[in-house]
Symmetry: C2
Subunit: 598 residues, 2 copies
């Protein structure tokens, strides 16, 4: 079926590309089995097909309404939410003693890719709630956990992350929402938050906002921000809900796509102060929130890849069925029309989509496996390695998947031509939905600067070394397995990346503004190298598995090898112009004067 | 103002980049003056600001409705149409003896860019009507011209081009609409047309469809297609309208953007046959229609550039006003926020938009000046040169402007971040509107094949030689004027283009399918070379004009030079990987098997 990631692809990524089976050796997963993992994927696929995909278009045409101070969603969204909750996806990765199933992170995220492919606007409520509850699990007091975790796990409560404010945008250091300590240990919050996804809806009994604010008298900038839990409804007697908290839905933002996820303006404290409780330590809020942000960034990567894969699948189906035109060599106008897929340029559009969508999904699930290793690997040093590598890769996971996911969805429209531009096919909506992914969880420029000014230099460059060493090991393995051309090309690209990284790192000490002026190009080139590596790894698996494979499996492996070749012939060579530009520290944009624009 | 192309930019393109003044020497324009040209541009700008820009959003939110067999548009569209007609834009370029003003093509198109920037969905009715009436002027019988030209010139009638059918898409040779000759010299047409822009509306008394169909017994393929004029309402007594013709609005297509232009399914002859009259010669319909298609392709280029320029202008205004964050070198969280435009990556996004939008607008107006030369240049050889060069450039004008216009509008959203993704700003609509331009008037792949298999080989490569010679002359001029680095880079790129063109032309004789497999890449590389040349020409003008320029003018010239540098440092170098791929005749997409995709 076209609506979700294919079963074979997910199995390839989890069990051949990644060694998910080996997790069963770890203490946390001894009571699991591959059957449990597969059943989880199958449950998600069914749920996505039956309860999410059918209202993709309906939700787009009937975006949430602001009715009497509350956001109202169409009914199928409620049904899907309930099903996600009842099948246990909101708490599946929790420990058993928290009420969870101890499902590995990588299996949960692979399962959720089905939701995103089917209907990202509906599925994101689950992603946000999981992120908020993870934050609570990591940093919340026992009292807060006792009150809020269970209903966030069973879907009675949903969660949000409330960072952005109208006057500050991407610069978190400038947030102004204030928090005043109360004698009872709680705080009263006042301020306005904007672009808060899921900030209001009518599906759950309560909404748990994880809010960044400044405690009165806190230092300026990012070092004076604290994290608070602020519920929509205050606690009442026992487990019951009490009064409405002083959090008001000030407005809904009307988006180009992704419409079924409310994007809200929330006013805290217009009636004297919203009641909130500190999560974690004073002034450490941003550091704590980065856990949720990093998780959300990988989540956005998975979403991007999934929406790209959906577009790939839809346009492939169309190209296989639609007869149109003839090959250039055919001069007989009476000969039958050929299918679209027989035109070389249509195959290019499909192959590029495959390279982008499957490449980024593979990268995202690899990142999830690093998250897994960071937390459950038996070897402490391996945990540390995984953490460092994941830190470096996170900006790429988020940004590359979003940008090339958008490129893939653009190509999907092009395969259909005029039909793809109409609302009779889902391609135009996927294109609109996907566009958000380059913006939320940090716009692309933010990730370029994060990568070049933090991730690459942190811990004396340990993360970058991790990356280089890991890739070089795979380059050697690929060369040994006969993928010599690709191995050599990637080796050369790595050399360039290293040289450029060293030069730009050094320049940051003397001229940080200039050194970071082309950080977005650096991010893109880093991403191409990363994806070439991910494709080389997939090609390596396919090469080794081809021997003795049946026809159907062999077709899949041949497709992997062809997509790998595409990436190495079409995408990686484009880094050459980028290395030149970066090595020269190009000043075109840097030197441009405002007054010169028009 | 942000809603239309700036006055200064159009003046630069017409009078400095192009030598539009010199047209006044030509016989057709002796009674004109620069004041007339400027007054025309000013009228268009006012009309665009006052009557088109204000309903851009309203028209998007209230797309045409299908009411009792007719498409109904919102009222402001009617008002704008009437104003365009009353100010004479529909016939301004006609000869005086046709009732026109003999306005040069390039001035008309420059004026219309204001309409497209303000509201493409409303403006396209004018473009279509002008195209249809031009077709009638070129190939129509005196009787048809006598009846239809005047009301198409004064806006009582509108025009369309009706090519595409549901089962044939881009392959025009497969159209099936039939035409049966009648004793009175007319024809009866039957068949269904799809994606017909402006195919129905309620603004004009009549609609004149220019329809491709096959006369009974005609040869198969493109050589059996004829062109017909089929009005919505048949002629009555004298100049009055008579009966409704057998053309029915079968449905409206619901598009992602560009919503105010109806996209229709039209049924011809469901009641026995739609009355139509042959335009031009039997079986020559496609050749005739190519006049309108080529005109429309340049029109789509101008539209793309104009929408890109609008996005550039809107995002520039936002970036100049919105404070956000600090430069990387600033470590003081108490220092004031800087404006977005002070961030280097925002300037990159603006500079790239400038390079794309102004570059493609310059290219499109250059193409219009070639059209002008082809028809009014006093020297016959120069007319022929202009025709050949225009033929080669048309696929680039259309496709490059559309693709990089879309890239520009994508960047405009990114400058605004989350705000750009909301419907509170026009950027998201521009992005949706722009996306059509890569599809209509020939999807990108069609133009790649057109360029490589027809335009480059036609007349023993005369068009390509024209292009090469013209560019090499400008390279020499630029080198002489001190732009040595850019001149050298363009010279090298030209060498590559020539080598690749020769090799792929030769390969087409033995393996046409393989030789054309990467035609879209060839088109993109050809486009980059073309735009580098266009920027070099603009840079040359700016270099020469800088001496003695006042501050404001100097700022504009500095901006041109910086955009030129950007194009040569960031865009042209990306052709290097493309030449390698083309020279190798990369087989990745060509060799991909359908069964390998998933």
């Amino acid at each position: 079926m076209a609506n979700t990631i294919s079963e074979r692809e997910l199995a390839f990524l989890l069990y051949e590309f990644l060694d998910t089976d080996s997790l069963l050796q770890r203490e946390r997963y001894v009571s699991h089995s591959r059957e449990v993992f597969d059943a989880t994927l199958e449950t998600a696929r069914q749920l996505a097909e039956d309860l999410m995909a059918p209202h993709l278009h309906e939700a787009d045409e009937n975006e949430p309404k602001f009715v009497e101070g509350q956001a109202k969603l169409i009914a199928p969204t409620h049904v899907a939410w309930k099903a996600v909750a009842e099948t246990g996806f909101l708490s599946a990765h929790w420990n058993e003693d928290e009420g969870g199933l101890q499902l590995p992170e990588v299996v949960l995220r692979a399962a959720m890719s089905a939701f995103y492919a089917a209907n990202a606007g509906t599925a994101s409520y689950a992603m946000l709630t999981i992120g908020a509850s993870n934050l609570l699990r990591s940093f919340g007091s026992d009292a807060l956990k006792a009150r809020y975790l269970a209903p966030m796990g069973d879907g009675r409560f949903a969660g949000t992350m409330a960072l952005t404010e109208p006057s500050q945008g991407s610069a978190l250091g400038d947030i102004r929402t204030s928090a005043v300590a109360q004698p009872d240990g709680s705080y009263r919050l006042s301020g306005q938050k904007m672009f808060i996804s899921g900030g209001d809806q009518d599906m759950t009994e309560n909404i748990v906002h994880m809010v960044l604010a400044r405690i009165q008298g806190a230092p300026a900038g990012v070092k004076g921000i604290s994290l608070f839990l602020v519920p929509k409804w205050l606690p009442g007697e026992g487990d019951a809900l009490g009064e409405r908290n002083d959090v008001a839905l000030a407005g809904l933002l009307h988006k180009m796509g992704w419409r079924n996820t409310t994007s809200t303006v929330l006013s805290f404290g217009e009636q004297g102060g919203a009641v909130g409780w500190l999560v974690g330590r004073e002034h450490q809020g941003l550091a704590h929130m980065f856990q949720m942000m990093n998780e959300a960034r990988i989540g956005v990567g998975v979403m991007s890849a999934s929406i790209a894969w959906r577009g790939f699948s839809e346009s492939l189906n169309y190209a296989r069925e639609r007869p149109q035109g003839r090959l250039p060599s055919c001069k007989d106008p009476l000969s039958p029309q050929v299918k679209l897929v027989e035109h070389a340029d249509v195959r290019r559009l499909l192959l590029a989509q495959k390279a982008y969508a499957e490449g980024s999904l593979a990268l995202c699930l690899y990142a999830c496996s690093l998250f897994e290793d960071q937390h459950t690997h038996p070897d402490v040093a391996a945990r540390e390695d995984a953490r460092q590598l994941l830190d470096v890769l996170t900006p790429v996971v988020k940004s590359w998947s979003a940008r090339y996911g958008a490129a893939a969805n653009d190509m999907a429209i092009q395969v259909l031509g005029g039909a793809g531009y109409t609302r009779d096919y889902p391609l135009e909506q996927l294109y609109r939905d996907q566009r958000l992914n380059m913006i939320h969880e940090g716009a692309e420029a933010i990730h370029g600067i994060d990568l070049l000014s933090r991730k690459v230099v942190m811990e004396q460059g340990a993360g970058l070394r991790q990356f280089m060493d890991t890739v070089r090991r795979d380059v050697q393995r690929a060369a040994d397995a006969g993928l010599r051309q690709e191995a050599a090309a990637l080796g050369t690209a790595l050399d360039h990346l290293q040289e450029v990284s060293i030069a730009l790192t050094a320049l940051q000490r003397s001229e940080p503004d200039l050194a970071l002026a082309n950080a977005t190009v650096y991010l893109d080139a880093f991403g191409r190298v990363t994806l070439a590596w991910i494709w080389l790894r997939q090609g390596l698996v396919a090469t080794q598995a081809l021997t003795g494979a049946g026809t159907e499996a062999a077709n899949h492996y041949h497709g992997k090898l062809q997509a790998m070749r595409y990436f190495f012939q079409w995408e990686l060579p484009q880094t050459e112009a980028q290395w030149t530009l970066l090595a020269r520290v190009d000043r075109c944009a840097f030197d441009m004067h405002d007054a010169w624009f028009v």
